[in-house]
Symmetry: D2
Subunit: 361 residues, 4 copies
């Protein structure tokens, strides 16, 4: 109820502060007999981890995940799966400069106001480090979905003002920016060099696609598939906007132009982004989202402290010039969790009826 | 679990098909001793109701709400509040033209695929008529929040290509377009005349603001205040995009430009839209969303029928040239529900501690 | 969250005060395509209704149930099913004698203390009248389960000090006491005549059996099948005790005597009551429960009023000498709801694997 | 949803198999600023732990609990609290004798049927070892409740046929049987010596009391305080029966004898066990429950194996002659969790109104 659980049937509950002893999660509701290993999970964690290139923060997070329960002889038991990553780097760094100061654009001030007590070390629970467990849990959903032929792929389509001319999702897997248009890599290198020099940051636009998603997932009227996607994505740190399907020119076009007409072969277009009335229509699911510029930057900022006095704060250390880059595996994980959860929800209510696509495919 | 419930502590569960006997809802968790009357609810329903002007559908929905339980001697009992609107217009119109045909851009095909059985009359459960009960339930939350000085106001900022130059929320209350810039009313009149003539439709952009929202609402890390807002808004029929705070030029600006620095008087800017780390920061909450063009339009569309054959479908009757207009009271209702729910959630966990804003206001 | 919802996947939310406008419920999560009619529901309501014989209260409850949504052309849609019973007898009787007085053994005092405002007419929400909607909702679950060959049967095994020598569940369907041993009917007639004469009441012991329940239902470790049964039964008005399986001589026997050994044909005994480790084992499910004597009796009782003054209260009108009798259809309904909910829960997580009984049946 | 979570606002989710790497839990929803240390938790764990006397199993469980998150500088943060106990004794003992055999009175057969895959080592998830985390989580609730003056005390009132003549709760804290009547200790010593000699087991009857519980806790109509207590207790391994208040002679007494009349000083009796209409009435809360004889006993039992063949099984090792003894701290923990959860639920809906007892105390 305090918001640390995601999903209703495939339920992920996470815990952990950025600089506490450990991060972890419990996954409850995973079907039994699914083959899963730490390798499956570690692979996804490695994709997310910072310090892998010169364009992400150099904090060393040699996160090694362990499975503590729920898997026996290599297969899930149907009992809760507990995953844990111990924080290796807990040395008592000096936090005196931010202990009683609220960093601008951070959750310091809101955590303090809400709880009256906060773990100021590295942002505590509000740190993006929390998303490691989303990725870990998402890896288990991914394993299950891939076996059913369902695939979730994310990409970056814009960083600052540099935008992809065309989206090639496979590109996103092979460059350090997860960027969907490799013709822009050189421009990005130049921009990042400047940002690092300047100690500043930019925002980004990203996308996620689900291929081969079955028709019929999603629960009207509140837990619509798109509504749950929107929540999932908006719950990622720094995300400020989520769109489903084509919204690029939605305000310039008329109803007659954007309705997706149908033939026996399927939809003639996909402005809907694969969802109609909150239920998947069997077409490609497409979403996009915008991430704000990294909050932690080099230049001093004006703020107040816990005593209500005006002070300046300087966040030391190196940080991501664009936190959006690392959001690709996180967003993929969240979408995997949404698809998995709705797959089980659909199974519960409609599993005993014959659900068939009306298209002749 | 089948998605017809919204909220965790202030829980609204709705029911009803567009042309069934009745629409209704149960509101569970409302605090006791709140004065509430049918007038409070009817007022909001009337704002939403179609057929009020020449720019919305002429379907007569003389919706009269009744309170069936939960209110005694004018005050809430703390027991479930049941609201009902009987459908007056249930005559068995001839639906043979759409009974077995999937209207493009509608949920006909996905409901059929998911459930194998659907109420084809007026879209059944997928009809926007369902939102009447959101507005009714939202009216009760609104009553409570207004007593605490919290106000939620919606507006339309763009219809098709006509966009407000400036946002004046009070304007939205006094014109039939709920439009935030009255200097554009004449342009809108011309556009709507053309759309009606043509039998076509356009999309719209809307916004909602929450003034005087207390600091500290929202539950990290999944049930963030903005994540729940995104879900609430995306669950409204035809919504395709949701944004929190300033996302207009987020990709053109650097971190140093968009972080909201603080003084003792408060935040110097509000790019965050009143939410930091998923928790309200006491500033104005601002969100925007995009609604696609009305799906039901005059011109024939290509589609398939239940037998998988290609057919053309024509949706008769008059429809909204822009369904976005009527979404203002619906979106306000959903935001009222989110604020109310998080107020109670905050009360549950943090009600016994002193939650104070660090600003000297 | 305020406790008016039962079930997690087959969710029933009820509303209504005893003397309000209506009682009703929403059933969310019912599988689509189930044939259901008001007759199915009315049949169960009629079994519960008072005033049917000289041994239950003479209050006339000619409850007529209506289906408002979720059923179309005789079959469930998968959308929420709304059921309603309008209260016919709302005339403003004189309640001045109990308006500000807390009747002993009733919830008057606790509702007043919790909510500070209550509907004093006939107990308001705390009235056993609320259980009508449990019976109505249970009838839908029953319809579904019966199609799968699963049957739930209740009976009364003891009223006051008169106890059944043998349990014959079929007897319970043919006498006005729902009593499992018809050899005791004459004794019961005499006792009831005396109780009515005296204006007093007695308690009762009841049982419910589930035949043909599939193996594998129930969720360890908290939502065990027996734990959910215990909650379901204990949530019925006036129930004070719930037992699963054989507890009659559990304290006199040793482990070697009560463990249910197995052969290829099945269990050699059923002390477990059909549940092991919280999961159904395929054997007959057996539970028992105790209901306290009816609270509303003729004789004056000592109490206090809303001003904290000592007063005497006399509850007028005729009442059940043993409220336990009418609890049979209510308990059956609750058990049907538990089985139905766990059937869907099991389907969600384990629906895709092969669940087989290890017995050679 | 898969049943490993208890509570709605003070939510405890547990994980872990008996012989897996670790047991643990996440507590979400704990109010911030509560002082908590591992000592608070370890104290309760030590009370539950086996091997402390000659009358409980000699398995060494030197359980050392660690707090992994949610507590900072000695006080709760309001973020999820993660507790963990690493299993020290994971050596691969030879389980070949029970690997494919279903022990009578155990959950082996039902886990196998439900999930098709199980951890056979020591019962896996179905082991009573799982309750360690209930005790750990309960310790945090207890800390909070004790600060408010609310106390939960359990005791054993009967073991096999030896029954307490009088209940003195303080006795239960000072003898190894947790027995409420110390005059019976010698008799118990003799019985246990015989049971150990014989390798057999007996059942037990236990009770729990809550003193100083505020009036107004509990949610009608399904989440009644007593209904949630019943579920909480019935969810403990081996519990077969739960009673609230006086049910000893409920069937011998009439309504006029068991209704708890009131004076300005309070209730004249407490047959209700402190709960009316599902809501606490401010009086002492009293419940009782029965635990079946330990399933694991020395003597061979007849059963079947995974291939459906009849076999005999012998469970080696030493086991508790009466598992009921160790249930005292577990039951206390569950009751603490129920009170805590309902305290927060009451706070959420009614926290802003004045809830007062009508008695002049």
């Amino acid at each position: 109820m305090s918001g640390n659980t995601f999903g209703k049937l495939f339920q992920v509950t996470t815990y952990g502060e950025s600089h506490g002893k450990a991060l972890g999660c419990i996954i409850d509701g995973c079907p039994p007999q699914l083959e899963i290993s730490t390798d499956d999970i570690q692979f996804e964690l490695n994709r997310r981890k910072p310090g892998q290139s010169d364009v992400t923060t150099q904090r060393k997070e040699d996160d090694v995940v362990e499975i503590l329960s729920g898997v026996f002889e290599g297969k899930t038991l149907g009992t809760p799966i507990s995953l844990i990553i111990f924080n290796q780097d807990q040395r008592s760094k000096d936090y005196s400069n931010i202990k009683d100061v609220f960093r601008p654009n951070h959750a310091d001030i809101t955590y303090q106001a809400k709880y009256g007590h906060r773990d100021y070390r590295g942002g505590g629970r509000s740190s993006a480090r929390e998303t490691a467990m989303r990725v870990a849990a998402g890896a288990i959903a991914k394993k299950y979905l891939n076996l059913k032929g369902i695939h979730v792929d994310g990409y970056v389509s814009q960083i600052g003002s540099i935008s992809a001319d065309e989206i090639d999702v496979s590109n996103a897997k092979s460059n350090k920016y997860f960027f969907a248009d490799e013709s822009k890599l050189e421009d990005l290198d130049i921009m990042f060099a400047e940002l690092i020099e300047e100690g500043n940051s930019v925002g980004a636009k990203l996308g996620v696609r689900v291929t081969n998603c079955p028709i019929g997932l999603g629960e009207p009227v509140f837990d619509k598939f798109d509504a749950d996607l929107a929540k999932a994505i908006m719950s990622i740190n720094a995300v400020k906007s989520v769109s489903i399907g084509n919204t690029h020119n939605m305000l310039d076009l008329k109803g007659s132009e954007v309705r997706d007409e149908m033939t026996t072969a399927g939809f003639k277009s996909n402005n809907a982004g694969g969802i109609l009335g909150g239920i998947t229509n069997g077409d490609l699911i497409e979403l996009e989202f915008i991430i704000k510029p990294t909050s932690s930057i080099k230049s001093k900022g004006q703020t107040i402290n816990a005593d209500g006095e005006e002070v300046e704060v300087e966040v030391t250390g190196r940080h991501d010039p664009c936190v959006g880059i690392r959001a690709v595996p996180i967003a993929e994980a969240m979408v995997n969790l949404v698809v998995m959860d709705h797959l089980l929800r659909n199974e519960a209510q409609c599993g005993m009826i014959d659900q068939a696509s009306p298209f002749k495919k």
